[in-house]
Point group: C2
Chain length 372, copies 2
Amino acid sequence: MTALPRLRVPEGDRAARVAWARLVEPGDPAAARLVGAVGAEQALHGLDPASALAQRLLPRLETLDVVRDLEIARALGARLVVPGDEEWPAGLDGLAAPPFCLWVKGPLELREACARSVAVVGARAATGYGVHQARELAAGLAERRFTVVSGAAYGIDGAAHEGALAVYGATVAVVAGGLDRPYPAGHAGLLGRITAVGAVVSEVPPGSSPTRWRFLSRNRLIATMTQGTVVVEAGLRSGSRNTATTARDHHRVVCAVPGPVSSAASAGCHVLIRDGAILVTDAAEVAQEVGPIGELAPHKEGPYTPEDDLEPVHRAVLGFLRVHASTTAEDVARQCGTSTAEAVSALGILVANDLAARDQDGYRRARRPSPT
Amino acid sequence: MTALPRLRVPEGDRAARVAWARLVEPGDPAAARLVGAVGAEQALHGLDPASALAQRLLPRLETLDVVRDLEIARALGARLVVPGDEEWPAGLDGLAAPPFCLWVKGPLELREACARSVAVVGARAATGYGVHQARELAAGLAERRFTVVSGAAYGIDGAAHEGALAVYGATVAVVAGGLDRPYPAGHAGLLGRITAVGAVVSEVPPGSSPTRWRFLSRNRLIATMTQGTVVVEAGLRSGSRNTATTARDHHRVVCAVPGPVSSAASAGCHVLIRDGAILVTDAAEVAQEVGPIGELAPHKEGPYTPEDDLEPVHRAVLGFLRVHASTTAEDVARQCGTSTAEAVSALGILVANDLAARDQDGYRRARRPSPT
C-alpha cells in the first residue's frame, strides 16, 4: 500500500471539487458516492489511503495542482459552477454521478437557460437532409424561446447550434474536453460564436482531451440539463441514441425526426420511434411535447375546402355532377341511390353553397374557385 | 306514395343480394340493417312500399334486371361470392354494413388468400421513393407468404401489386367500380395480370362506374379483409388515411412508412405514426406486427465489433492507446484515472483479445482487422 502524497489543494468545497474533477473520470460511481455522502472536501482530505479508490487515484494525485487549475480557468475567462450555486442546472441533480463542477464560458446564465431547453443532437455523419432539418428545428425552437443544447460536433450538433444562432436564440454547447481544447478543430469558430452569446460548458478541467469515454459521459449532461431530447439523424450505432436512452431513463421527453427508410443516417431515429420516442416533424411539435401544457401544435390537416362541411349524401351527390354537362335530379337519384326528393333537396343545398349550378337541363358542378 | 314496380329478380339469396348491390350504394346503413335482420330475399320481396327505404329505391327499381346482371357477370368470367360461401372473406363480417356480395375474378381462393394478408396502400401522387418502398415492401411480404391487398390505383397501390407480382406472390385488387370497368385506364394491363394469377374484387355490379363514394366504401373492404394495413406514402388528405382509420377501428394492425419530413407525400404517414400507427421500415417489421406471434423481426443494431464485449474500464483504456506510438501502463493509469495495477490488468486483457499489442516501449492499439 502506498501512502497518499501531500495534496496541492486549497481549502473549501470549490477547490475540492476541482480536485475530484481532475482525479477521476466523469461519472466515476465510487467517487460520486463518496462525495455525495460526506462532501467533496471531506471525501478528499479524509480519503482512506488503504481504500481501492485511493490506490486508484495515486497516479493522478502525484500531478494534482488545483491552484494552477484555477489560475488556468481564470486566464481562459471560464467560471466555475458547483452544486448549490445559483447557476447550477437543476436537472443535473438527478444523475447517479453528477459532475463535481462545471467550467462555463459565455454570457448565458446556465440554470435559467436550461429551465426551458431542448437538446438537439444527432450523427456526425449527417446528410444534407439532416443538417437542414436540424437547423430548421433549432431555429424554430429558439424562436419559441427554448435554449438549444447540443454537443458542438460536426453534422447535426453543429447545425443545431447554427440554427439557434441564426435567429439570435440561446444555445449551449456541452463539450467532452477542456474548454481550452476546442473540438472538433473545424468548429473552433462556431464554439467562439457560442461563447460570445451563449455558453460553452465542460465537466472536465482545462487541458483534458476529449476521449471516447468523456463523449459518452458528456451525453448524460445534455440529456438531463434539458427537458427533452430530439434526435435528428442517427445511425444504428450513433452516440445520440445513448443520449436518448439517458433522457428516457431520466423521464425526459424523447423525440426523433424520421427520414427515408433507405437512409442509414435515419435508421437510429426509426429504431427510437419504434421503441417509444415521439415522431416529430417540426419545432411546433417538439414544443408541444417539451413545453408546459398548453403549447399545442396545430394538428396537421389538409387545407379546408367547402366540401368538408357537407353531409355524406350531399358529398355523394356532388361527386356525380360534372362541370361541363348537366344532369337531371332523377338521374342523380338513380346514380346515388337516393329518392328523387332527397336528390332535389341535396342539389338545392349544393346550389346554395355555390358548389353546384342549375340550368335548363338540370344541375352542373360549379367551377371550383381558386383558393384565396 | 308510389307503389313498387314488379321486380325482375329470380328466386334465392344470391339473386336478391345482386339486387341489393344494384339498388343501394355500398355501405348503405338502412339496407344493411334490413338485410342483416331478415335476409336479402325477405328484405327485398317483403319491402314495405311505404318505407323511406322503398321510396328511396324507386328510381333504381325501375331499371333493375338481375337476370341480365348475372348474365353479364358470367360473360365477364366473374364469380359471385356471398356470405356463407366458402370463399367469403371472414374479415368482412365485422363491418356494420358488409357488402351484399362480391364479384371476383381470378384464380385465388379469396378467403384463404385473405387469411394471411396485408393491405399496402397509399397516395396516387407518390414519389419515386414511395413507389420504390411500396414495391420492396410488397415483394418482401409476398415472399413471406402474405397476400398483398390494394386498390390498383396509380402510385403506391399499383407499386404494391407490382411488387407482389414480381416475386410470383399472391395479390388481390379491390376496385371501386364494376369488374368490366378497369380503372384507372392506364392500369388495365396491371389489372389483367392480377386477374391472371391473383384476384380482382368488387362489391358493385358490372357496369358501375367508380365514384368518390365507392372509393371510400371500397377502402373499408381493404381495411377489414386483411390483418393489417401499411400506408406507404399519404398526403394529409389522402384516402389511405381513411383506410388506416377503418383498420384501426376494426382492431387491425396499422403501420406507416416514414419519409423525409420535407415531403408532403409522407405527411399523412407521419400524422398516422404520431396518432399511434407503428413505424415500419421493411417487410420483416410488418410481418412481426401482422403475422402470428413468433415472426420477430431482427432488432436493428449496428454490426458487432469485438469492443462491444469490453467492460467500460477496458474500453476506456483502449481509447487511450494509439496505433503508431506506445504508451506505458503508468501513463495509461494517469490518463484513465485507474490504479497502475488496474491499467496493467486491463492492458493484458486487451492484448489477449488482439485489441492491443505490447512492445519494448509499452502498449499500442492493434490495427483494426478489416471486417470479414
